[in-house]
């Protein structure tokens, strides 16, 4: 690894930011149309982020600041590991377990900063967010485990390349439909979209972890949100939809999946946190275990 990798990493971060933020803006428009509103301009999300960053803010001590820096730093580092279509900033580092755990650095930073504010709403939000994570991550990891066993590779780009060899029918979402459904449901949980958004629930717990933030802190958390969305959706695109042979192919797949989940989110109500856990352990986990069982013991879907 040398300086060139870091330069590529920086470019990748910029590209991911512009792409995901534009997409968020477009999605705000789409959702508005769904609700029969005109909706904001498609670049409104950029305006929001830069405005927040430029405003003054209050802080509750060094851990409040440090947590935000650690969170954004961790998430940006994770984003660098993600292949953007065929492009990779650092070769050989897109191991799915590395990504899953580096992602946790960001989560921990955010949780730490939120609790550091001394506001109990924030701690309640964090406790819900972590419980949510325990619910959605296990079915997802289980399916991923099956994939790794099936293809003897835990590299994102490697798994994507294997799928592309089989054309459209080679996509894992078609080879392992149960796993594909589990992954989509888990992705909805990862993104914190309805029905799994009880940890931000603005009306109940005052936006949970976000309650104390303003100014540059909030702007950085907006950035964090865009990057974590980028990471999570990219994971699914690479693992189940064949990744992208070209950047354009990757971006189209990504946009379609993201918009689809957003539309689903906007017609659903919210689960209570224990309902979310029960749901994930009853339906997706069972499906994930069946899928993994089929892969490991029967070799079903493995070419």
């Amino acid at each position: 690894m040398n300086l060139v990798n870091f330069a590529y990493g920086l470019l990748l971060l910029l590209a991911a930011f512009v792409f995901q933020t534009t997409l968020t803006g477009i999605n705000r428009k789409v959702v508005a149309r769904l609700q029969r509103r005109r909706g904001p301009k498609f670049y409104q999300q950029f305006i929001d982020i830069f405005k927040a960053l430029s405003k003054g803010s209050t802080t509750h001590g060094w851990v409040f600041d440090f947590g935000v820096i650690m969170a954004l730093g961790g998430i940006m580092a994770t984003a660098i590991f993600i292949p953007f279509g065929p492009l990779k900033a650092v070769p050989g580092m897109d191991n799915i377990f590395i990504i899953a755990y580096v992602l946790a650095v960001g989560m921990l930073g955010m949780a730490m900063s939120a609790s550091g504010s001394g506001n109990p709403w924030a701690s309640i939000g964090v406790s819900r967010a972590l419980t949510n994570m325990l619910a959605y991550d296990i079915p997802f990891m289980m399916v991923v485990f099956g994939l790794i066993f099936a293809f003897d590779s835990s590299s994102l780009s490697g798994l994507a390349a294997i799928q592309r060899e089989g054309g459209l029918l080679g996509w894992n979402v078609l080879r392992f439909p149960l796993g594909g459904i589990v992954a989509m449901i888990s992705l909805q949980g990862m993104l914190g979209k309805k029905p799994f958004d009880s940890f931000i629930a603005p009306a109940e717990i005052a936006s949970g972890p976000m309650v104390e933030y303003g100014g540059r802190h909030l702007g950085m958390l907006f950035l964090l949100h865009e990057y974590s969305t980028f990471i999570e959706v990219s994971l699914i695109v690479h693992l189940f939809f064949g990744g992208g042979a070209t950047v354009l192919e990757f971006m189209v797949k990504y946009a379609v999946i993201y918009t689809f989940l957003n539309l689903v989110s906007n017609v659903l109500p919210r689960f209570k946190i224990d309902q979310a856990v029960t749901f994930f352990y009853k339906v997706p986990l069972a499906m994930a275990v069946v899928q993994t069982f089929l892969i490991i013991f029967l070799g079903m879907g493995v070419a």
Binding site: V126, S127, A206
Partner: protein
């Protein structure tokens, strides 16, 4: 020659620490530090003497790679914790004995790891059990010591029967030779294996023998909990290793039924390991006491270690050996951080604390780094070892173990975060407003442990090199590394790159933060309160029942404690019945039984 001196010196050191304590308690406590640091230095310098043999009296020792590795881990934990001893001297009932037993148990573990015959092994096993049994009641509760001793004696008795059985079959007590004839006899091998491994399970705290951990770790003196969790628990891993590697289990069980290439006997134990992971995680999540919480996390981590050892392969076994070290130092660091809090505030109850970061930032940092490693998040050591274990599981396709491993890893985010949020962050209580920072002598071990946790997470090469030697000695393929890249079957991990990219992300984030407008500092009570006026920080702190909605989902869980309690109660009832029937004070009962006996004698006599 160095190792026999170290074992003897540790025993002499134990006695001299006692004598020094008679003169000055503080000096006695510092003696434990000096002796354990000395032992650590000798172990590190004596690495070239691995393979040497020596005898003391009738006991025979041999320094193997694994024995050296285990004793290194153990002595490191003992040495780091011993810095804390001097602060608790005036709080203990028998401080001199504490210093003595502290070093005595350390000497016992050293002897155990170097033992080359089974009797020596057993003697030192007992030395450790007995000395720790007497330290535990110096903390909060005597009952904990009773439970600890009961469970430990199950292990001791199992070892003793195992040794006798092996001796009957092979006629020798030398560890390397005693198990050889067992390979031909799978049935006896199974019995010996189960007996020995049971001794290991009692010490690691694998389900259903986990009940002593939370009790003993939670109520032992604050300075002994890190040793129990980081050190003594690992003795069980050593016994488990012996039963799998030296027996060797995979050869002896060649003919038995196999699931995914794992013999049924081992698979069953792996399931116990998986249960321990899930159970330890769920119980840790709902604990209200910080020490009990970390104790349950030791149960969960013991599960990972056991599964890895039982795999006996290139990846998971290496991961397990590394996890043993990582868990030892991380758990010791977490316990020490809680000990500092307990030293200053006098409590370890999560809901009675809060905002400690504003009074002891270094302790907070230690706890943070320790839990990042415990939860297996990069760039700390715990990540590398968990990654290796999971890669190994994925290679073999052991899906149910993997399910437990995933649950344990994500669940650990929940429980490790709880003390972080409720003890160190959140509102500082008014009565803690004037607390002093941690004393210098406490800072030293915490900083050392922090550096070690981070170092072996970024550059694990040295550690994995030793583990590779252990694997070669055990006859399996060693873990492969090229440069700083760990090469697994299904993927590679370059820890240095992970660290550098993480640092890069952090740097960009820091630059963004610094470029923007400076923030205004406000107090902890100056927050959004839903338009209420709040003046009581202690009530404005979310600490108790942190994961209430999740805990409710399994509040009526079955438990081993309840089951054993029910058995104890039934036994008590039986006793009452026996008492009422045979040992009553009423004359009528005596007359009744006398006549019954007389009748029986008469009838019996008539029969003859």
């Amino acid at each position: 020659m160095t190792f026999d001196i170290v074992v003897i010196l540790m025993f002499l050191g134990a006695f001299s620490a006692y004598l020094i304590s008679k003169a000055s308690l503080k000096a006695g406590a510092y003696a434990t530090t000096v002796f354990s640091l000395g032992a650590l230095a000798v172990l590190l310098m004596g690495r070239s003497e691995i393979g040497s043999e020596f005898s003391v009296l009738f006991m025979n020792f041999e320094v193997t790679v694994i024995g050296w590795y285990f004793s290194g881990v153990m002595v490191l934990v003992y040495a780091m914790t011993s810095f804390f001893n001097s602060f608790w001297m005036d709080k203990m009932m028998y401080p001199g004995s504490y210093n003595f037993l502290y070093l005595f148990s350390l000497a016992g573990t050293l002897g155990l790891f170097f033992a080359s015959d089974l009797i020596t092994l057993f003697i030192f096993w007992e030395v450790v059990v007995w000395s720790s049994t007497f330290i535990i009641p110096m903390g909060k509760s005597r009952r904990a010591a009773v439970v600890y001793y009961t469970i430990s004696s199950i292990g001791s008795m199992a070892t003793l029967y195992g040794i006798m059985l092996v001796y009957r079959i092979s006629g020798t007590l030398v560890i390397q030779e005693a198990f050889v004839p067992l390979k031909e006899d799978p049935l006896t091998a199974t019995v010996v294996f189960v007996i020995f491994v049971m001794a290991g399970l009692t010490k690691i705290g694998i389900f259903p023998f986990h009940i002593w951990l939370p009790l003993a770790h939670g109520s032992a003196p604050h300075t002994f909990s890190p040793v129990l969790s980081g050190g003594l628990v690992k003795m069980g891993a050593f016994i488990a290793y012996m039963s799998v590697a030296i027996l060797p289990a995979y050869e002896a069980f060649e003919g038995s039924l196999k699931i995914m290439g794992i013999p049924l006997q081992l698979y069953f134990l792996m399931i116990l390991g998986a249960i321990s992971i899930v159970l330890g995680t769920l119980m840790a999540i709902k604990q209200e006491d910080a020490k009990k919480l970390i104790a349950y996390s030791s149960v969960a981590n013991g599960g990972y270690i056991l599964i890895g050892i039982l795999m006996m392969d290139q990846l998971s076994f290496a991961g397990s050996m590394m996890h043993l070290f990582n868990h030892a130092i991380a758990s010791a660091a977490a316990f020490l951080a809680i000990a500092v809090v307990a030293y200053r505030t006098g409590t370890t109850k999560i809901s009675e604390l809060g905002g400690m970061i504003h009074r002891m930032p270094l302790t907070y940092l230690t706890y943070l780094i320790a839990i990042i490693s415990l939860a297996g998040i990069p760039p700390m050591g715990g990540f590398v070892s968990k990654w290796l274990i999971i890669q190994g599981l994925a290679d073999r396709g052991l899906m149910f173990m993997a399910l437990a491993a995933f649950f344990g890893s994500i669940g650990s985010f929940l429980y490790v975060f709880r003390p972080l949020a409720a003890v160190f962050l959140g509102q500082l209580k008014p009565e803690h407003e004037h607390l002093k920072s941690e004393p210098l002598m406490m800072k030293i071990p915490m900083v050392i442990l922090m550096v070690l946790i981070l170092y072996f997470g970024v550059l694990p090469k040295w550690l994995l090199g030793i583990i590779g030697e252990i694997q070669v000695a055990a006859g399996i393929e060693p873990v492969m590394m090229s440069g700083n890249t760990i090469l697994a079957v299904n993927g590679v991990l370059n820890t240095l790159n992970v660290f550098m990219i993480f640092g890069f992300g952090f740097l960009i984030s820091l630059i963004i933060f610094l470029l923007m407008q400076k923030s205004r500092r406000v107090g902890l009570m100056d927050t959004y309160t839903s338009a209420e006026f709040i003046y009581t920080p202690e009530l404005y702190h979310y600490a108790g029942a942190f994961y209430a909605p999740f805990e409710r989902l399994y509040q009526n869980h079955p438990s081993v404690e309840k089951f054993l309690g029910a058995i104890a109660w039934k036994f008590h009832e039986l006793g009452t019945v026996v008492n009422a029937l045979f040992f009553s004070h009423k004359p009528a009962v005596t007359v009744f039984w006398t006549s019954v006996i007389l009748v029986m004698i008469t009838l019996g006599g008539a029969g003859i």
